[in-house]
Each structure stands twice: as C-alpha cells, then as structure tokens.
C-alpha cells in the first residue's frame, strides 16, 4: 500500500478535473427553497424510498407509482397550476445516508415537500429534521407507532395508519373467523418490526382472549432463506394458528417452504403483510389463510368509495408495470393525494396566494384527502386515520395468484389508538364486544 504508484502521475490531472467537476456540481444553488410566499416555477418533491436492498420490493413499486401519478398530475396541468417533479433518494445505505440526503434535498435541491420514508428508523430520524429545517414532510410508508405517540411535530404528518391498527385488525379478524383457537406460534423476522408487531399482537390477544397458549416464538434472522428449522418446530408443536408479519423475500420463502411441507393444512396462517407477496408466490399459498395489506389496500376492494377511481388506478398501474398495485403503491398514492389536497387547501386559504412553509404545514393538520379506495384524515397529532382491510385467501380461476374473500373493512377510528394515548396502554383497555361489533364480511365477486 506504500505510495509507489507511478500511474498516479497520469491520472492526477484527470482526477483533479473530475474532483473539481464534482465539487462544482455539488455547489449548485443552495440556500432556501423559495422566497416565502412567492409562487415557485416548479414544485420539487424529495422522495425517500428503497431503491436497493431487500426492501426495494416495496421501494421500487412506490417509486413507480410516484412517477405514474406525478405524470398524471402534470398532464392535468399540475397542482394549483404548478408542475410537480419528484427527486428520489435511496434509503438502502441506512439512516446516516438518509439524514444527509434529507439535508441535501432541502438545502441544495430546494425541495418544497418531502416524502419520507419506508424504514421506521428513517422516519424517526427525519421527523425531527422536518421541524428543524421547517420543511413539510409526509411520512408515506413507515409503520412504527412510536413517532407520534412519543413526540409531536409541526412539520411531519403521516398519510397512512401505523403498526397498531394494522396488526390489531388482523387479530380481530382472526378472533371473528376462528374464535376458538387455543394455541399460536409466531415466525417473525428478527428486527424491530418483527418484535414490535408481535408485541402489539400479543398485548391485544392477552386482553381480548386471555389464556391462549403461545407454542413458540421464532425469530429467524432477517433475510433468512431457509425456514426448515422453524417449520419442523411448528409441525411438531401443532399450534392452531401461525402468525407471521414477515415480508419480502423472507415471507415468500416461508410461504413456499411451508406449502411444500403441508404446514398450511395443519394451521391457519395470519399474515398481515402478505398482500404484497401474493403475486410472487402465486398459488403456492393455499386458500383459507388470513392476509392483510397494511391498510385498506386491495385492487379488488369490495366497496371502494369511488369504484371508478380504484379501477383507473389499478388498471393504469397494471398496464404500465405489468403487475397489480400492492400496498406501497397505495401508500404512495395517498401521499401524492395528500400533497395535492394540502397544497390546494393552503392556496385556497390564502385566496389564491402561495403559502409559506409554515402555512403549507398547517394545512395538513386535520386534512381529509381521497385515497384510491376511500379517504384518509390526518389527526391533530399528525397521525393518519386509514381503514384496514383483512381477508381470507381464495383460489379463483381469474387470477394466477390467490385473491381475498370474506373481506372485513375496519373503520379507522375503531382500531387506531386515540390521540394522546400509547398503544401499549390502549391495547390493554380493549373489550371483547369489539369483536362482536365488527362490520359484515364481504365475499369475493368475480
């Protein structure tokens, strides 16, 4: 490693030219996004999403949806007459990188709005930055309930639900369709989400149906490809129910291997994130298992507020990217819809004038905006109120993958922790009549 490289002579000049070019481009106009109150020529939106790593199974569909919807908005003349432009940044390298990129987006690119992020860690790190840099930020996909339960922010808002309603509704559904289960095993990824989601599920289960035996708590390594140990354990223990909040490649592998070893015949699976895996695993996943979608996201939603809107969204996405939209697509659509509604509300409040950052942020508080399936309201604490849809798998000849039937759409208020309460405490106050009062299940219509 000693400096003997003669080649250094040759490349130094080139290296210097390269370096100065790099430095030059980095120093392109910095400073503030726009003169407060002046109408910008273009609306720039920074979007943090996974473009690399395992979570790109969510990040890439999210980006595709954003591109599709931004194009649609621009084709229709923009928001309040201003064209919108997305600037994507990769969450793949981790929190340090995202925090640096957030600052670059605000201070160098001068974005007017930021969508952050898929990773809960990134959201936890970005929400305080939103307040510090005073840039309205929509938390578009991350799940952790900690953000608005532990803190209050003036510039950060979540345009979807959080882990508590997503997991609680899966439990309520299970209690409704299989009320007499006696034992449960859990196979979750060994990281924050896997632990957190099991915590929520267990706390609520112990309140609503005390005495269920937890046969096994299995936390295979995040990114594991082989689940033979876990499947063997569960086959031997014979629990009535198997819970897995895994996602991506982990869930795909678990479903395929459990299917090969007939585990699905012995236990009912509850998989609150499996909607995003259905099209990949296809009919390896048998009928009769419980699947969720982190919200009321399902391209065959049984009772959308505007069937035409959902159909247009799903069909356009399918035509463009050759797959049906999965939940991150819906989450992105919600963030885009919230952005549009928020800006229009702020512009209207100024009777056509352009809002400042603070005025734009204030517009998101209490904002109600349409989602592809229903509508979402942002509460005063910044948390979005989003309905939840859980269903049971069914094999239909119309699709090469399982579809959902016996779908229950849970109204957001009924499953979301009230403002000012912590999920861990609120879940302990639930009562069994919650299960009795659930909405009617709706069957698959071909």
């Amino acid at each position: 490693m000693a400096g003997t490289g003669r080649a250094g002579n040759v490349t130094r000049r080139e290296a210097l030219i390269g370096a100065s070019a790099a430095a030059g481009s980095l120093m392109l106009p910095g400073g503030h996004a726009w003169a407060q109150g002046a109408k910008p020529a273009e609306l720039k939106v920074g979007i943090a999403t996974y473009l690399s790593g395992p979570a790109s199974v969510f990040g890439v569909p999210g980006r595709q949806t954003a591109e599709m919807l931004f194009d649609e908005i621009n084709a229709a003349g923009g928001i309040a007459g201003i064209k919108v432009r997305p600037i994507f940044v990769d969450e793949g390298p981790g929190v340090d990188h995202v925090v640096g990129e957030y600052r670059r987006l605000v201070q160098s690119e001068g974005v007017h709005l930021i969508f952050a992020a898929i990773s809960s860690a990134d959201c936890i790190a970005c929400a305080p930055l939103a307040d510090e840099l005073k840039r309205p930020t929509l938390l578009w996909d991350c799940g952790t309930q900690r953000i608005f339960e532990d803190n209050r922010y003036g510039y950060a808002f979540r345009t979807q639900a959080n882990a508590t309603p997503e997991i609680l509704s899966a439990l309520l559904y299970l209690l409704k369709v299989k009320p007499d289960f006696k034992s449960i095993a859990v196979i979750n990824q060994d990281y924050a989400w896997g632990r957190d989601s099991w915590d929520i599920f267990r706390t609520a289960m112990n309140t609503l149906k005390p005495g269920v035996k937890v046969s096994a708590e299995l936390f295979p390594r995040f990114g594991a490809t082989d689940f033979s140990t876990e499947i063997t354990r569960v086959l031997a223990l014979r629990p009535d129910v198997v819970l897995s909040t895994s996602w991506g490649g982990d869930l795909d592998a678990l479903i395929r291997q459990a299917s090969d070893r007939k585990l699905f015949e012995r236990a009912t699976f509850v998989m609150p994130l499996a909607e995003s895996s259905l099209q990949r695993v296809g009919k390896a996943l048998p009928a009769g298992h419980i699947v969720g979608a982190r919200g009321d996201h399902w391209f065959l939603h049984p009772s959308p507020a505007d069937p035409e809107r959902l159909k247009r969204f799903s069909d356009t996405y399918k035509a463009k990217y050759n797959a049906w939209p999965i939940y991150p697509c819906f989450h992105m659509a919600q963030a885009v819809s919230a952005m549009k509604a928020g800006i229009e509300k702020a512009v209207a409040a100024k009777s056509g004038g352009w809002p400042t950052d603070a005025e734009l942020a204030a517009a998101f508080k209490g904002l109600e905006f349409p989602s592809p399936t229903a509508s979402v309201r942002i509460r005063e604490d910044g948390q979005g109120l989003e309905n939840q849809l859980i269903g049971t798998t069914l094999h239909s000849e119309k699709y090469p993958f399982p579809v959902l039937t016996d779908m229950i759409v849970f109204p957001a208020e009924s499953v979301t922790t009230p403002v000012g309460q912590k999920s861990a405490d609120w879940l302990k106050t639930l009562t069994p009549d919650m299960v009795a009062n659930l909405p009617q299940a709706q069957a698959f219509k071909s």
């Binding site: 400096g3 040759v10 980095l26 120093m27 910095g30 640096g100």
Partner: protein, 310 residues
C-alpha cells in the same frame, strides 16, 4: 514530505473544509461525518502500520455512539459525553485488545469482525432497551449549557470534529515517528527482532489498539451528535469494511491520508447518489476501483509520487 509541509497541508485542508461548509450549508453534515470517519480511520492506520487489518472497529464506533445516546438522558452535556464515550471505547478496547493482540493477520481481522458482530446482535436482541433496528433518537444535548441544535449546533459539532482531527492527527504523526511507531513497523517486517531487542510486540500492538479504539470512539460520538439517531447498523461489518476501505483509498503513507480518503469517499457517495439515485453504488464502485487500479498508494500516494516526479 516534510513535517512542515504536512502541517501546512493539514491546516489548508481545515480551512478548505470551513470554507466549503460555509459556502454549501448542506455539506456541513457530510463533512462532519467525513471528519469523524477520518478519525476512526486514523486508528486503523496505526494498526495498518503494524500490518494488521481490523475488520471490527465499527464495534467501538457503535459503542461510543450508543454511549452518547444513553448517556445523554442522564447528562446532556456534549463536552462530557464525548470524552466519556471515548474513554469507554478505550477501556473496552483494552479488554478486547489483551485478547486479540495475541493474533496476527487474518485471525486478528476475523476476531475483531466476530466481536463487532456480537455487539451488533446484542443491540438487535436487547430490543426493549435499544429498540433494535429502529434505533434510538438522541435527546436534546447541550454544549456548555447551551442547546446543541440548529445551525450553531452544526457548526459546533463540525468545529469539535475538526479540532479532534487536527489534535489526533498531530498525536498520531508524533507517535508514528517515535520508537513506538518504529516498533509497529517492526511487527510488520519481522516480529522476532522486536523480541530480541527486548521490546514486547504484544504490548506495542496493544498500545496502538487501545489508541485506535479511543479514536473510533471519538468518531462514534461525533457521528451520534451529528445524525442524532443511532442504529445497530453502526456496528455492522460493512461499517468496519468501509473504514478499512477509506484507509486504502486515502493511502497509508501519512496521517492526512485518512481524512483525504474519508472526504473523497463521502463526497463521491453523496455526489453519485444525487446524480444517479438508481445506480449510485455502481458509480461509487467504479470510482473507487479506478483509484485502486491507477493509484495503489491511495490519494496520498498520488500527491507524493507527483512531488517526487516533479
């Protein structure tokens, strides 16, 4: 290169960093992280002098970062947290060092790697305490009683990183020229000779190891104060690999090398990510490959070979 010109170069670099941080506000964050990583790599450089590569120094980085995150709840004073974190990293470095300095080369590297991954697992598994992969948000921190936040906070942390970089750089420069530094080089060439001279190679390596742990600790504390959010990824093996990589990129010939390498690495990464959100890893890889192929002495090697030729 003479001591005087090296000092001048270091001071010029410091001024350049301040000018850049002033002219381009968002680079303050990137440059602070680069200086912190440069500090950690300075420690790696000491070990490299002895021919030993540690693939586990992220352990001390993460240890110090979590010390700051947990410590800030009790004592939110950065000027106490910083030395406390470095001290703890040093103590743990001493304990682990007593064990790992008995090994050389691949065994040394792998043992360090294993221990840092053990710490990674601890951070992930003690979920109730550490929140696992979601990490911990730092509570508000003060400097001399004044809150460390906003633009002044960014300047303060950058200033601290810069001072630490200059002080540690100077100390390592002196240490490398001292008998200790010569003994380290002796471990690389032929260790038995040291024994014959009555110098304990283990003790020499231990001293370097503890110093490197302290510097990695300082780096971790600076990173925690800058990002204000710590996650177990700090102790993952890729972070250690990054440090070794920066050492090679910057060049092992001088104490300025690590900082050149860290700045080049961070700026390339940020620039590539800004230009090609989809394929920035490819760009980063190609740039770094180019440096390795065409300048085996790293960036520092490019500068010195040019001077020699001139």
């Amino acid at each position: 290169m003479t001591r005087r010109s090296e000092t001048l170069l270091a001071l010029a670099g410091a001024v350049l960093i301040l000018v850049l941080a002033y002219a381009v506000p968002w680079l303050r964050f990137v440059l602070t992280i680069a200086l912190a990583k440069g500090l950690a790599v300075l420690g790696i450089l000491l070990l490299l002098r002895a021919g030993q590569v540690s693939f586990g120094h992220a352990l001390y980085l993460a240890l110090a970062a979590y010390t700051v995150a947990f410590g800030a709840v009790v004592v939110p004073e950065a000027l106490l947290l910083l030395p406390a974190a470095a001290l703890l990293a040093g103590v743990v470095g001493l304990l682990i060092g007593l064990f790992v300095v008995r090994y050389r080369e691949i065994f040394f590297g792998m043992l360090n790697l294993a221990l840092s991954m053990v710490f990674y697992s601890v951070l992930e598994k003690f979920y109730a305490l550490t929140h696992g992969a979601d990490g911990i948000r730092l509570p508000p921190v003060t400097v001399l009683g004044r809150p460390l936040a906003g633009e002044s906070g960014e300047w303060t942390v950058l200033g601290m990183a810069l001072v630490l970089a200059l002080v540690c750089g100077a100390l390592v420069r002196v240490a490398l020229a001292s008998p200790l530094g010569e003994a380290l080089a002796g471990i690389k060439t032929r260790e038995t000779r040291l024994d014959f001279m009555g110098v304990s190679p283990k003790r020499v390596l231990l001293a370097a190891y503890v110093a490197s742990a302290v510097m990695a600790g300082l780096a971790g504390a600076i990173i925690a104060l800058t990002t204000r959010h710590v996650t177990p990824a700090l102790s993952y093996w890729t972070t250690s690999g990054e440090l070794v990589f920066i050492a090679i990129l910057g060049g092992a010939g001088s104490v300025i090398g690590p900082f050149l390498g860290a700045a080049a690495y961070e700026l390339t990464r940020v620039y590539a990510a800004a230009t090609f959100a989809n394929a920035w890893q490819l760009v980063l890889g190609l740039v770094l490959l180019g440096v390795i192929v065409f300048a085996p002495g790293g960036i520092w090697g490019m500068i010195t070979s040019r001077r020699r030729a001139a």
